[in-house]
């Protein structure tokens, strides 16, 4: 049995979706996918038991070499859902740089489930700077979290002549000044377990800066959740 024909939002091939007999007999809700099976098959999920406990990368040991080498933030760990591979690169490019807002829905279901499992007191999306927001018309992380109760606890700080993140090399990114400030008074965060959500974990500096701010404000624990690592 097939749903009406649609087009895969990434590769534009026809996207025929099979409903399994199991789903039909059990009246399970069918989540229509916006990507075709071929594209979905190219995703590389990172299993929880094969991920670095520090940064969430796919890794056979408990802590990856990077997390062992760099001083780690106590009370912070990151969970990354997928490997940042060619398919996700294409996805992020179409979503973020070309601004195809429809793509926010692709991972909403999966992200919602992860958020639920993490059971945090506050869910905080990493903000983007107002100029980018104006141009893009949306915050890509907030788009993923549509339908999840979030708190806009962070705002960006404009440092002089800030290069866009993509134009910086690893060294420059690591030395980056604190790019965020708190939007709310500190007691909001006191003894709270906080979930920070971002799109991609690259060096981890962005999300760690945000985590530091929240831990300094009294949060008991900060957990990161990113769509991808790489």
């Amino acid at each position: 049995m097939a749903l009406p024909m649609t087009e895969c939002l990434l590769c534009h091939r026809e996207n025929l979706q099979q409903i399994t007999l199991w789903q039909l007999l059990n009246f399970q809700p069918v989540e229509p996918s916006l990507l075709c099976q071929t594209c979905l098959d190219r995703l590389e999920p990172i299993p929880l038991d094969q991920a670095c406990r520090g940064c969430g990368r796919h890794c056979s040991t408990q802590l990856c070499p990077d997390c062992t080498r760099w001083e780690t933030l106590t009370n912070f760990k990151n969970r990354a859902m997928f490997q940042y591979n060619e398919l996700l690169r294409q996805f992020m490019s179409q979503y973020k740089f070309y601004g195809d807002y429809r793509l926010r829905q692709v991972f909403q279901g999966k992200i919602k489930r992860e958020v639920k499992q993490i059971k945090a007191d506050l869910v905080i999306p990493i903000p983007i700077n107002p100029i980018t927001y104006q141009q893009r018309g949306f915050n890509q992380v907030a788009g993923f979290l549509e339908g999840v109760k979030t708190t806009a606890a962070l705002a960006t700080i404009e440092h002089d002549k800030q290069l866009p993140q993509s134009a910086k090399n690893r060294q420059q990114r690591l030395q980056m000044k604190q790019p965020f400030k708190l939007n709310l008074s500190t007691e909001k965060f006191n003894k709270k377990r906080i979930l920070l959500v971002d799109d991609i974990y690259t060096t981890g500096r962005t999300i760690r800066h945000a985590a530091t701010l929240l831990l300094d404000a009294g949060a008991s624990e900060v957990v990161g959740l990113t769509l991808a690592h790489g």
Partner: protein, 449 residues
């Protein structure tokens, strides 16, 4: 401040734009999207979209069809300046091409010149290997001499990149710009533009003469937005010429309704008929390959080609079929030098070159080599010709790879499939039809070398 030359006949997306004061009043400003009750209609690509699927958080809408060219959002405008034709009128011909046209080509060429001069819309249906490009030269020569702005567009980058040097060589003194998605050079105002049909979306009433090559090719046939783009990119008074080897149903319908005039060139420039398609039924060919066996009719066909030392192209429907066929071929014919190629193959160009240089006997390929690429003396086979990836247009183009050069006008074209389909029948019928037409018109056997 924006350079006025950047805006002549172009459409630029912005909230506001400023040019020198003398040009400011001439600026054309159009809202980039039209809103109806349920839909938003993009004024750049012409596509409409249900509002609720493309609403941004602040209440604007965007177009999901043409964002590769920079996203159209409903709060922006499209700005342009009317095309002023800032080109010198010429008294001497800029055409440096020395070749000669056959009398059939010449007849089409004259019809084309008349279309360009009168600003009509016209279709040139010329078989694969008819010499379409050369038939354009005289019409374009006259247009350029009058100071008109000319564009040649194709849905395929490959075709644009092949056409550009040919036009540069034919009109050496005319400044030319080539535009396509992945290029790095910026846009410049030139009298002759060669671009992908997608790039036409950036023009607004610019061209006096617009030629669209390969109109049957994906994605033009499938994408009504690009048709809209052609209408927008040419001036209202401008001429529009479609070139095709396999007219789509829509183009044929317009012709029957007398809404589109058509020139036919049913014969190749060398005066030999198109090789007709031989069709053989197979039984579960894919399963045979899995069991490491060549289907009997395929093996028979191949043995014949190989015993005659023919070079050949082997088309398969999908990337996953490439390796299967290659491995079975290798076992059945260990002497045969073969390789596989597909669209995303990083070594695509080298492999095609090796085939051209005669280093390979057989190239196993997906539909990417269906057009544009010419080999001088080749046979063609298609395995799984009934697969949905092969349209009638694609099959006619594939068959058209054989017998292109006058020194080797023959070539075997063999299709294999588990069933005969309407699409296969239509491709066979089209080729027989043009050969009959060419014979009736006395175009076959009149050889030109």
């Amino acid at each position: 401040m924006m350079q006025v030359r950047q805006l002549f006949g172009r459409q630029v997306l912005a909230d506001a734009i400023s040019v020198t004061p003398d040009w400011q009043p001439k600026l054309l400003q159009r809202p980039s999207m039209m809103l109806t009750g349920q839909l938003v209609i993009c004024q750049r690509c012409g596509q409409s979209t249900p509002k609720q699927t493309v609403r941004l958080p602040q209440g604007n809408y965007y177009c999901p069809h043409c964002f590769q060219l920079g996203r159209v959002t409903s709060n922006q405008n499209l700005w342009s300046l009317p095309e002023p034709n800032r080109f010198t009128k010429l008294t001497d011909s800029p055409l440096s091409w020395q070749g000669e046209l056959t009398s059939a080509q010449n007849a089409c060429s004259q019809e084309i010149s008349a279309v360009f001069a009168t600003g009509k819309t016209h279709l040139l249906w010329a078989v694969t290997g008819a010499g379409k490009t050369e038939m354009l030269f005289h019409g374009i020569e006259q247009a350029l001499m009058k100071g008109l702005r000319v564009a040649i567009a194709s849905p395929r980058v490959d075709v644009c990149l092949e056409l550009a040097p040919r036009f540069q060589a034919a009109f050496t003194s005319i400044p030319q710009i080539v535009l396509y998605g992945e290029m790095n050079r910026p846009y410049a105002y030139k009298q002759l533009t060669i671009c992908t049909t997608h790039q036409l979306l950036r023009f607004y009433h610019a061209f006096d003469v617009l030629v669209i090559d390969e109109v049957d090719a994906f994605p033009f046939a499938a994408d009504p937005g690009l048709n809209y783009a052609a209408q927008q990119a040419k001036k209202e008074s401008g001429a529009l010429l479609y070139l095709t080897a396999t007219p789509s149903k829509e183009l044929s319908r317009l012709e029957r309704q007398k809404r589109l005039s058509v020139s036919y060139l049913p014969a190749r420039y060398h005066g030999h008929p198109l090789p007709e398609i031989k069709f053989k039924l197979t039984s579960h060919w894919r399963q045979s390959l899995m069991k490491h066996r060549l289907p009997v009719p395929v093996k028979k066909g191949l043995s014949q080609m190989i015993s005659k030392h023919r070079k050949f192209l082997c088309f398969v429907p999908h990337i996953k079929d490439l390796a299967a066929l290659a491995s079975v071929l290798h076992t059945a014919f260990p002497e045969l030098k073969t390789t596989t190629v597909y669209a995303g193959d990083p070594q695509r160009h080298e492999k095609v070159q090796r085939m051209r240089d005669g280093e390979l006997d057989c190239l196993i390929t997906t539909t990417i080599l269906e057009r544009g690429v010419t080999f001088s003396n080749i046979d063609v086979m298609v395995l799984g010709a009934d697969d949905g990836v092969f349209s009638t247009a694609a099959l006619v183009q594939i068959a058209g790879r054989a017998g292109r050069k006058s020194a080797y006008p023959d070539g075997l074209v063999a299709f294999f499939a588990d069933r005969q389909t309407k699409i296969i029948q239509e491709a066979r019928r089209q080729i027989r039809f043009v050969n009959q037409k060419a014979r009736r018109e006395g175009l076959i056997g009149v050889t030109h070398d």
